[in-house]
């Protein structure tokens, strides 16, 4: 177990080094930060001076080396735009994104699991057919269309849910601004989290359905029937536990997709989270912030997958984490 976690830590560091290198390598292609930050009236000499101050005249390798030395001490640089350490900027926006993603995941698990199971055990049922048809549709409709549709129906026509912003937030322990504890905050979560959930739902419905159908064909399920076990026990203990093994793995991989879709969702709903911040950073050519965002996301990805593997190890007795460390 300890070996497994240590290996994961090494892996995480390795991933972050690669991500930071990549984000540094692309920064020159994004545009000129100096031009973005100064008005037209600033003289060329002043521009050159700022350029020198920011260290932009050094070669990429030198810049990266300077960045890496500071990064070891936990300093990923200072945002050009916010004039604050990038990690502070990002961690201020982190709660919004985490809460959005969390709600979306709850919605996905809460809806995809029963739908997938139903579609597998009663394939001819009208509801299952509808579920399968909808999941096919869902796979092919881009989420910004879903979002626009939801906004049109639920905010503009029905006035049921707000279409932008986070609403009222509550500070928890001085660390975390949460929208989960006020009615207004929760109302603001509805449309963005549904939109985000919509992006991941079809894959999980189809995956759970396909896996469950396969598991139900297996000998051990037949043996369970032949023992005269109650139907509920066969479906929800014998079959579901086996069905979830590949679903857990795919869930970890889909964490990446989730991050990508938070950027889209947050932009659509003006959600003040990391994704929205990232889009702004890109348009402002705020290179330190872009690099830091990518590194943080990489870290989240590694942490998520470590958790996923831990859960997998708990569910699947044939896996021993220490032996299959990676």
């Amino acid at each position: 177990m300890l070996v497994f976690l240590l290996r994961r830590l090494v892996q995480a560091i390795f991933v972050m080094i690669i991500i930071s290198a990549i984000s540094f390598a692309i920064q020159n292609k994004l545009g000129d930060p100096v031009q973005q930050h100064m008005s037209m009236t600033v003289s060329p000499t002043e521009r050159a001076q700022l350029r020198q101050e920011l260290g932009l005249n050094d070669s990429i390798v030198v810049q990266y080396w300077r960045f890496a030395k500071k990064a070891i001490h936990g300093d990923l640089g200072t945002s050009y735009y916010y004039k604050e350490p990038v990690l502070d900027v990002i961690f201020k926006k982190l709660p919004a994104t985490v809460e959005l993603a969390f709600c979306a995941i709850i919605i996905v698990i809460g809806i995809a699991t029963p739908c997938g199971i139903l579609a597998a055990i009663k394939p001819r049922n009208i509801v299952s057919r509808l579920v399968v048809a909808l999941s096919t549709m869902g796979l092919s409709i881009p989420i910004f269309i879903v979002a626009i549709f939801l906004v049109y129906v639920f905010s503009i026509k029905l006035h049921l849910a707000p279409s932008f912003g986070r609403g009222q937030t509550t500070n928890v322990f001085g660390l975390w601004d949460s929208g989960l504890f006020s009615k207004d905050g929760l109302r603001h979560l509805i449309l963005p989290s549904i939109t985000l959930a919509f992006a991941l739902m079809p894959i999980f419905v189809r995956l759970i359905r396909a896996e469950m159908m396969e598991v139900l064909q297996s000998d051990y399920i037949r043996f369970a029937w032949s023992k005269g076990l109650p139907t509920r026990r066969i479906y929800f203990i014998h079959a579901l536990k086996n069905t979830m093994l590949p679903v857990i793995t795919v869930g970890g991989i889909q964490a990446g997709t989730l991050v990508a879709y938070t950027i889209l969702t947050e932009s659509i709903f003006q959600w003040p989270g990391m994704g929205f911040l990232f889009m702004d950073a890109v348009s402002r050519v705020d290179t330190p912030l872009i690099a830091a965002y990518l590194i943080v996301v990489g870290g989240i990805f590694v942490i998520t997958n470590t958790f996923v593997d831990l859960i997998y190890g708990l569910v699947n007795p044939t896996v021993k984490l220490a032996n299959h460390g990676l």
């Binding site: 000998d219 037949r222 043996f223």
Partner: protein, 333 residues
Amino acid sequence: MNLLSVSNLHVNFHLKGQDLAALIDVSFTLNRGERIAIVGESGAGKSILGFSIVNLVDKPGYIKSGSIKLQNKEITTMSLPQLQEVRGKRIAMIFQDPMMTLNPVLTIGVQLVEAIRSHTRISFKDAKNIAIEKLHSVQIASPEKRFNQYPHELSGGMRQRVIIATVLLLNPDIIIADEPTTALDVTIQAEIIQLLLDICRNNSMALLLISHDLGVVSRVAERTIVMYAGRVVEEGPTLEIINDPQHPYTQGLLNALPQMALPGQRLNQIQGSMPPLNERPSGCAFHPRCPYATDQCRQQQPSFIHSGVSTVACFMVEDMINDAHLDDDEESR
């Protein structure tokens, strides 16, 4: 009264718009404590017969007609809760591949205890005691330790013992064993068969052994049913079937045993292979492979006739018996 009586059972499969017969007019009876073997090549319908007895034929298969009576209760028309009462408690099954039969993510203990507790109101602790006692009775060493282990921690032979223990938990009247040793090593095969035989004898349980291993069959079963292409072709006492097979198919099966060939000689085999479900020939289904086939065999399905203590469905045997009767008549004249 018979413990189990299957009469005129027809099982069909809906495949690609066709309704194909997998079992045709199968009838037999099983008495308390009796051991019957069902033999035949792959595809003869042996396993389907085993599964249909507890109404576990997977879709697209279904029981088309006929009756399966457990004492006086009709199984084919039972509701699912009624079936769940019968399954495990009255009729239990052992499957072919012990590697696939136990659920990989549940402990042996959970899989044993759940079988008891879904049939009887009993505490977990009492159920555990029964389970451990049964594990002991199938000669599993340190059953307390095995109870908490997962299937992958056990060998194939050990798993088949666990499965046999599962089957014994509720003292069923009938055990259906679908090729219980096919997936095991030869040395372990003998042990498992001996175990099964002892258990049935000691508890006077009836056994329906589905097998293609005639060596095993001759050791275990008192009666043997030979199946071909979904039909019973010969039935009788095992000794009789092995020493004096009547149906050309049974003769072919026995001839194909390696013991029947001399060293260095090619093994005998029945020419051709079992026809798939959608290509069953007319008349007697065995006629394309039968060395004695006549025009009558190609057109008509032979009915069952008694030949000594066996019953056979074959025109050749029928003719032989009729001739013998004629000879008797002439002699007596």
